[in-house]
Symmetry: C2
Subunit: 180 residues, 2 copies
DNA sequence: CACCAAAAGCACACTTTTTGCTTTTACCAC
DNA sequence: GTGGTAAAAGCAAAAAGTGTGCTTTTGGTG
């Protein structure tokens, strides 16, 4: 049932129909009250759908080197997040008052970066901590996505990444006080 | 009239009452249809109110040095933005589909930093470009505010600032390709 | 098969949202 | 001032969305 509702939401988001609880319910073959009881509000439902779409289904591909892994993964990340539907998803996730879904979303990103990080360590490379990448690459991109009319480009993402890889700098960055 | 409505919203946000269009209308001594015609949705209204509250009313205070100006301003910025009401305001601003208010919000921040920047130049100091501060200090803070349960602290803000001031780095940062 | 609890349906009440039409307001020309 | 006019606000009713008590279905368990 949850699957039918989620699918209905995605269809309405993509296609024409208006995005209301009654419309979603009708499309999913369900009564509105079911949706209200399970999710409470349309916002919460949209937030859940967005989170589901953002959940990574595969580990980042292994290109053989830290830099290659990061560039490839980051390009996909930017393409997904900076697109119009991507921006809408992020806004949907942030709409909720409770930070649950938002922090889950950040945790997905962290996890993917951690994966690349761990792989690099195995190779004997010296990768920057995931926190640093979140802080110096992901955060600026997200800021651009959320607060400026023109979303960031893949080039800008590469520039940010290059800077971190070239100057990992600052004492303060090896501890893990950033988010989790 | 707009003033009465804005005030009603702020009162309801602060105090007890429920935050609905009819409630705001009643409190402002206006009919709901007036609000619907002027703002369209409650979200848009909340977004406008939040933007208004975020608009800086004074220039950053002059402490006599670049670093002092930045630290003082940043502390106030974090205090305002990382607080519960601050986070709510930011979410209200981002709720809207059109990036207008969000980019205006970013422009306010940029303007304040620019002000400090210009003042530092006058003193003969060598301040980092405002874009760099946005990218390396504001963006990570905003990321923490939006995506993690525990908001950033003043200490973390100072750490980010210190890193930028100590290592302004990278060729790519003197141009102004970032946002505006 | 009978039972039970969780989930969904159904009907209805209540609230919010939207709209057509009227009235007020503010401004400008005369 | 007076009259004209366009934008904004009020009003009232219809439409749409939201929430809730109660019944029915479903799926698992003894």
């Amino acid at each position: 049932m949850q699957k039918a509702v989620h699918r209905a939401v995605r269809e309405l988001q993509a296609g024409e129909g208006e995005l209301t609880v009654p419309a979603v319910a009708a499309r999913a073959g369900v009564t509105p009250s079911t949706i209200y009881r399970r999710w409470g509000t349309l916002s919460q439902l949209l937030s859940d759908v967005a989170l589901e779409k953002l959940r990574p289904e595969t580990a980042p591909v292994d290109t053989g080197s830290l830099k290659g892994d990061l560039i490839l993964w980051l390009e996909q990340y930017v393409e997904e997040m900076a697109s119009a539907p991507g921006r809408a998803m992020i806004r949907d996730i942030l709409r909720e008052t409770l930070p649950g879904n938002a922090s889950q979303c950040s945790a997905f990103t962290y996890g993917q970066i951690e994966h690349i990080h761990a792989r690099a360590l195995d190779r004997g490379e010296l990768p920057p901590p995931a926190e640093l990448l979140l802080e110096r690459v992901i955060a600026p991109l997200m800021y651009r996505i959320l607060f400026t009319p023109a979303p960031p480009t893949a080039e800008e993402a590469r520039r940010l990444l290059d800077e971190v890889l070239t100057y990992p700098l600052g004492e303060g960055n090896t501890d893990a006080t950033a988010n989790k």
